[in-house]
Symmetry: D2
């Protein structure tokens, strides 16, 4: 995440890091859990910071092959606002760009990226090519990305060419796509609003031919 932010900052992108575990985010499929009985819910202010950003990069560790419960919670709370629309009538996150960073000591970058990138595109984010990156150690338990081993003063993960290359590619593609969408004023509005989709050329006008076999 530091490296993604480092490249972005060097290229003139303002970067805001949120470490979800340092905040109290309530469970629940609601926008503000304090209106539903929770004593504390810092999500609304975190959500405002996410809405202020053109790019969202979600980071997660891997537990038993899937993303962490905390990452899951962040996705759920993003989803809780998906019923709201922007001023064009598109879902709230349209025009924004998403990616993810996954690390673990063993296995599961692609599986975690699948569910994370799917969730982001589902609620409105655009996913540019190669929008995930990660690091894994040898199969089995072992050091994490930032752990030093064998008396080395440098974490092994830091110098993985594969990880650094993919992190770089993802970050640049996020920047490229965000600029392209910014310049275009977001995704054009035709055909993609919950209210307007049936007023333009749409699926109901093209009955499928029967399939043989």
């Amino acid at each position: 995440m530091e490296r993604v932010g480092g490249i972005m900052a060097a290229e003139g992108v303002s970067v805001d890091h949120i470490h979800a575990l340092e905040h109290t985010i309530a469970f629940g499929m609601v926008e503000d859990a304090t209106e539903h009985g929770a004593a504390i819910d810092e999500w609304p202010e975190l959500h405002a910071r996410i809405m202020a950003a053109d790019i969202l990069v979600l980071g997660t560790p891997i537990w038993l092959g899937v993303k962490s419960s905390v990452a899951n919670l962040v996705v759920e709370r993003l989803y809780a606002s998906s019923g709201r629309t922007n001023d064009k009538g598109q879902y709230l996150y349209y025009g924004k760009v998403g990616g993810c960073v996954v690390t673990g000591n063993e296995d599961g970058v692609k599986a975690c990226s699948m569910e994370t990138l799917y969730a982001l595109q589902h609620i409105g984010y655009t996913i540019p090519p190669q929008a995930d990156c990660g690091w894994l150690g040898d199969i089995g338990p072992g050091p994490s990305y930032g752990d030093t081993v064998d008396g080395s003063d440098r974490p092994a993960g830091y110098d993985s060419e594969f990880t650094n290359k993919n992190t770089t590619i993802m970050t640049w593609n996020l920047i490229h796509m965000a600029r392209m969408l910014k310049q275009a004023g977001g995704i054009p509005v035709t055909g993609n609003t919950a209210k307007g989709w049936s007023d333009v050329t749409n699926a109901t006008q093209f009955d499928p031919d029967p399939i043989s076999g």
Copy 2:
């Protein structure tokens, strides 16, 4: 797939349908399996048709919660060319846009979309918002999308508002994004080539701070 193609054609997009099962596509992680012992392999000509398109929409049924072996095979063969690059040095599928259509009689649209959209973005496709659509019947065995039941002369799937809305939204977003990328001449080349990524601002320049906890 017919409806996706119908909208596209009506909006001036040339549409080419490939029904994978009507072709002999060889197994193997190679570009042309006839060079590796296969008697027949129609993939190279199918791949040429896919390369001629700015948009790829992959359709699949669901078996036991995942996409079909045939859809898997198509993805594998697409992947077999991912080592090749376009004339900018980016992976071959950069600048193209991807989506998917999933139907089954019971459960699994999102799971199939996760793996399909992940694969497409991994090899270079851009994924616009809401790039999947599908239809499912009631949980449990039952009619497929195109099956008629109960003496009805019209398949129940055809009139699902949810499916038709999502099909429309996906299709328009694919068109919007393809036009945007075409106009921009594809994804800008900085930072996203296997050869050039380390010559620009890149991940190796930003050592992460140690994480506490």
Copy 3:
């Protein structure tokens, strides 16, 4: 979950329901988070209740195609004790039997079951045949399992034959397998302990033949 418990109770199995959201379960890959700075962590007592049971059935809703953050958290905390062993030297959960119940309004029972059953078998649970069950409404937003619609006084989910059949089959298979394992005194110990695996016939003794092609 009520129906699973109902069948079990009627068949003489003691049933203990835990509703995770009614408890404060801390984040963190530890057995007792109060030893790591958390103010409250009810997990240790919940874990004791889970350890007292021969059968664990995990229930979860579906959000964006995956299990909920709360279910994820429960799995993570179960996993946090996986380093401990029983008195035979097997992982802690050996000899127990696992299943899951998944409901949502749209799609994802199989995907949630995949990750849940995988996690359970990975930490030592045995998974009998057809160990998951669930209910989904028509594709798209709609009523949940227990919601009544259209002036009906009875939730539609309650009378799904498919769901009731699978719930019954799962529950009986969990009971059958738990009884079988109880009678056998658990899983025999040969070859499956972290310390003893290399003292018996084991993988290192059988070098693979080279694969051609």
Copy 4:
């Protein structure tokens, strides 16, 4: 697969290896594709060999994070017989035990195991604890399990303690569980047949309490 078979053979289990790619297995959700127009379909004889076995271990490489199209095809064809029942009226594969072996050069053992073990338990196989094993190289492209590198005359994968330990544990657990099920005459029949489930204590008898919240 050789190591799994090696342990089994040494412990008196008859072992039959099938390498799917050496056979012509037709696509299609049918038991015998030659009855549906296919020129060749070796599946029926392969299926007979699988039915003769108490244990099934499915091996697969990983492509883009999921199991291969060939492994998918084998699962689909297994599933195509799932409507048939054994002489007790249970699904055909009841009483059998399943596991899997997954290798790739980078990432995805758990994801492939999730879908494979899920499919097996869904059609009737019992999954004992830790029923998967695998090997992965460092993240990124690199040698496969059986590849030699750096002038070494020995594939690096062969000596992974983690892989050998898990392969051993899985294999012994498959043997233990198969013996237990054989001794018990399979899974007891109460409550788990498509025809008989509603004649015993079953889900329809226990209406859930309404959930608050």
